[in-house]
């Protein structure tokens, strides 16, 4: 267990490709992680997202800022590779989320399972982005991608559909689906989920 993060976090340079040493150099304890984030396209957002990484004594190995592409929610996807002591990683993710940074994916091991569901209802009129946010907040799963089909457009009485691919912690897909159903029910949205247990 490292004692103290050495420099004051504000002065910590975030990009330090050649400096795998941190927190007093417990190199053997460092674990590499890949984190996918989503950022709002505003100045300073990237730096704000990287601050928790520094604050938690993690090493930034690389950063891939896909400024040209947008996530389904109109945000910018960012992928960062870091190294940090194993016991710091959860706190780091928590800090990121506390700052309103959307963590899409944190390692394959973190979100070991995937589940796809189709939502049916007045998706646009009931604020789809709010629905997605609630699904992520309540289920602990992350929305990996979404496809919306609203042939009749907003305000129509016809139902629209959305296919969501959710990344869940290993073994938790059933619980995630249950949470999605609860969130959806509040907005009168039907959920078509896969069958658990079927081969």
């Amino acid at each position: 267990m490292p004692s103290e993060p050495t420099p004051a976090p504000d002065e910590q340079p975030v990009a330090s490709e050649e400096a795998p040493e941190t927190d007093g150099g417990h190199e053997t304890e460092l674990q590499a992680h890949t984190i996918r984030l989503e950022l709002v396209d505003e100045p300073g957002q990237l730096l704000a997202a990287l601050k928790p990484i520094a604050d938690n004594g993690a090493n930034l190995l690389s950063i891939f800022h896909e400024r040209g592409s947008l996530t389904p929610r109109g945000r910018i996807p960012v992928e960062v590779d870091i190294e940090c002591p194993p016991d710091r990683f959860e706190g780091l993710l928590e800090d990121l989320r506390d700052r309103g940074v959307n963590v899409i994916q944190a390692d394959a091991e973190e979100y070991g399972d995937e589940v796809t569901v189709v939502l049916v209802g007045h998706l646009v009129d009931t604020d789809l982005s709010d629905t997605l946010k609630k699904i992520q907040d309540c289920s602990g799963a992350s929305v990996a991608d979404i496809d919306l089909s609203a042939p009749a457009g907003a305000g129509s009485s016809a139902h629209s559909s959305a296919r969501l691919r959710l990344r869940a912690h290993a073994g938790e897909t059933a619980r995630v689906v249950e949470t999605v159903r609860k969130v959806a029910a509040e907005k009168d949205i039907d959920v078509i989920a896969p069958l658990e247990g079927s081969r």
């Binding site: 796809t116 569901v117 189709v118 049916v120 496809d147 089909s149 609203a150 042939p151 016809a158 139902h159 629209s160 559909s161 959305a162 296919r163 039907d190 078509i192 989920a193 896969p194 069958l195 247990g197 079927s198 081969r199």
Partner: protein, 324 residues
Amino acid sequence: MRLCVLGAGAVGRSVAELAPEYGHEVTALADSSSAVVDPDGVDVEAALARKDAGEALGGGEPGDALASEYDVLVEATPTTLGDAEPGFSHLRTALERDNHVVLANKGPVAERYADVRALEADSAGEVYFEATVGGAIPVCATVDDLGAEHVSAVRGVLNGTANFVLSRMAAEGLDYDHVLAEAQDLGVAEADPSFDVEGTDAALKCVILANVLREADCDSLDELREVEVTLADADVEGIRDIPGSALELAAEDGRTVRLVGEATRDGVSVGPRLVPENGTLSVTGTRNIVEIDHEYAGGLAISGRGAGGEETASAVLADVARLE
């Protein structure tokens, strides 16, 4: 065996017509308005011809059939919910007279399973109900052969009408109302399709299966009464509100949507589910499929025709054979 066939709809008449081929004799046949009884064997063809011509099946009252001498009562009157009457009373009468009962009517075993078993326990007659689940598919017999105590779940596509609608919607990119109208023209869907598209029919079948599974863990009738399931306990969702866009999105991902019912010891759920497009459960058209999860055998699947007069009659006559 001497059969008393109650109900002269698609299933009842097919049972009556096919009985001789299976070595049985129909000694009574009734519909809701009349009956024909003949201890030497009813002339089924003539009786059904009269019915087709708009006349009575025979000169007797409907109750005469139930009161006559027979070995097996084939209860093929329409399924009713709640108290499952009049089907349940027909079954009671037959069992009280120590006759066997073969059900095509789902009501008694879906709504009053423990009552049925209680009457059976006091009777020399036995009750079988293969035809109530999955038409021609031998679901109950398979679960029974495998040992219901080792079966953890039975799930499947158990309603041909709903499956026809969903598979046509997916294949042709058509919406629900359009496909339903087509299904009604083809005679696949009834004028009032609610029983099928709202999931009730599939739920009744799953309720029956859940009762079979739970019964396997019971040592007494009292225990069975405690754990029996009825339609009211089932979690049921239909397919009415599924737009074509949902099927398209599913297809883009190599999946499709099927109305899947599942019976486990925990209960019954029926609803639209995402299944792999080429998976076991994605049968097309009116076809049904049943998947059984077994402790040692693993997964088994049986597919076939889940409805139809002759198809369902084959299940009824298989039950009659079990009584010989």
